[in-house]
Amino acid sequence: QGDPGKVAISISCGSVGIEFQVCRTGVEAWAKATGHRVQLVSTPNDSNERLALYQQLLAAKSGDIDVFQIDVVWPGILANHLIDLREHIDPKMLDQHFEAIVRNDIVDDRLVAMPWFTDAGLFYYRKDLLEKYGRPLPTTWQEMTETARIIQEGERAAGNDRMWGFVFQGRAFEGLTVNALEWLDSFNAGTIVDEDGEITVNNPRAADALTLAASWVNDIAPQGVINYSEEEGRGVFQSGNAVFMRNWPYAWPLLNAEDSPVRGKVAVGQLPKGGPDGKHTATLGGWQLAVSKYSQHPEVAADLVRYLTSLEEQKRRAVVGGFNPTIDALYKDEEVLAANPFFGDLYEVFVNAVARPSRVTGVRYNQVSAEFWNAVHATLSGQTDAKTSLADLERTLDRVSRGGRW
């Protein structure tokens, strides 16, 4: 059926909620414009599950999905199965995007994905409580620790015995890699594996960072934090039981929802530095669009990718869905800023977000990340001290990488 030359493209872009809606609208607009048909394949939302699925599919050389929405850490893992988009994308268009992200999407000099939207760790805090206790916004983790403790104790004394200082993602999963990487990098301790594939994680600054983080558990952070993913932490924070939270931008609209107990009491800023010499760091998150090598219609699929990652579409998504654009220009756009006031302030955060070492570790990234989060988790849960974990980790990574050769 349909016109000859008009084909059906299937795309996976989220599966539920606003993400799915926004994607569908965009895709349908493209379909209307081009006359092609598009089918949306919904996939698991858990990124681990989604990756496993993609891998199975791609390993099977299945053309079931033409366009994949891939995580920022996956280009290295999936590169072999994706086409080089350079042939389809105007270089000028590419230049609009954050450079860091574009670099992340280039594997072996092939542009395997296009940036679609970005994410970075944000520092949420209770401005009402800071005010109440007359504390400034902490700029270092150490300050944060102190402030958190003061407010926590104060609040508890005042009757809220469930009050905690800080919540983050401490569960043994990818999110912990993200959190811990922020700590390490803010202490200038590198990003586990450097650009050249050297394993850098075992250094004293990293140990300091982890030691500090471990000290939070059961002090300013509930013990359960080491099994929290994003939602559990948000639950605590949103019910008014935490002063600080590390989370993604998605939490913003939720925290300010109608029935949110902390509506209007929350502000958002950059994550603290690792001491006075450290830097503000956020780990880069976000999603890209890529086209499968096994697609029947790579040209058409690439066109869809071009459309969805274009400035117009990203703007629409930012306004409608609060998705962070990957295009610099949009952070100065009136309409975008009206919908998302903190975009302007946090532009720096998004631009300077630090990438996980996924490109250099390639297909082994998953394993590296798992080893890393497990090492961090062991430290957080007090099973081993930071030094030992890091030393162990270095050895393990050495083995995984076959001596750093990845």
Binding site: V16, D46, E49, S229
Partner: protein, 277 residues
């Protein structure tokens, strides 16, 4: 004398009460939680003060949950029918005919029922792909055979063995072939046995997770356990406990109804099967 008896009775019923609370409470809690909306979920309340159905509505809006249930039903029913069909004939041979290799076969069946699923995961994945059944309910139905079939064969074999020998002999004297004996004499008698094994196989298939997770692709093809495990809220990071609890209640209720109906038979079924097996 009397008072000691009464004390004994009381202690006994306290024990009974404890057992009931222990077994039922988690499910009760799931129901209660599923009836709490929004932030109410984060308050510990043993009785939902203002029950709301939002979560139940939400389950069906967030994902194709109706479709997931349908998938589960299709898969579980097909698995039950298919494995019972294969198992009835096989168990006749294994239970009532003496032939060389019978013990070996029984041994194989027994050991297959003990395979860890991961041990066959990759091979099964290849097989499914090769048969073109990836992301297809047929693939699930086929792969579920690995655990329902040995189990049904095993239980039905013990049942078959228990059926009176004279009955078959009477039929043979009446001129019945083995096929006729199975279909017209034994099958009507195995109603309870088939119900029990069928139910157990149904539960196993309905609850299966690993294969369902690995061999389906799209949300439309998922079965309920996977759908629940992967349930998400309106954005990527939200974990909607209310929805999960609602979904849990929804998928559990049919099973509970089945179990209630068949509870007596389950015990007697096991009497003939599992314990002896």
């Amino acid at each position: 004398m009397r008072s000691r008896k009464i004390v004994g009775r009381v202690l006994f019923y306290v024990l009974v009460a404890f057992i009931v609370v222990y077994t039922v409470f988690p499910f009760y809690w799931a129901i209660v939680s599923s009836l709490k909306a929004g932030s109410g979920l984060f308050q510990v309340e043993f009785w939902p003060s203002n029950p709301a159905w939002d979560n139940y509505v939400g389950v069906f809006q967030g994902q194709p949950f109706g479709r997931n249930i349908l998938n589960s039903v299709i898969v579980a029913v097909s698995v039950v029918v298919l494995s019972l069909f294969i198992a009835v004939t096989a168990s006749y041979s294994l239970g009532r005919v003496q032939f060389r290799g019978r013990t070996t076969l029984l041994l194989v069946v027994l050991s297959v029922s003990m395979f860890p699923q991961v041990a066959v995961l990759s091979g099964m994945f290849e097989l499914i792909r090769w048969l073109g059944l990836y992301n297809n309910l047929l693939g699930l139905i086929l792969s579920y055979m690995i655990f329902t079939l040995p189990f049904t064969v095993w239980v039905l074999t013990t049942f078959m063995r228990e059926l009176p020998k004279e009955l078959e002999e009477a039929a043979i004297v009446d001129g019945a072939s083995s096929w006729v004996v199975i279909t017209r004499v034994f099958l009507p008698l195995m109603g309870p046995a088939l119900a029990t094994t069928g139910l157990l196989a149904f539960i196993a298939a309905w609850n299966e997770f690993l294969f369902a997770l690995s061999f389906t692709l799209s949300n439309e093809m998922r079965t309920v356990p996977v759908a629940i495990a992967l349930i998400t809220g309106t954005s990527q990071f939200e974990l909607p406990w209310g929805n999960i609890m609602a979904a849990s209640v929804i998928v559990t209720v049919p099973l509970l109804v089945l179990v209630m109906i068949f509870q007596r038979k389950i015990v007697s079924g096991l009497t003939a099967g599992a314990v002896k097996g």
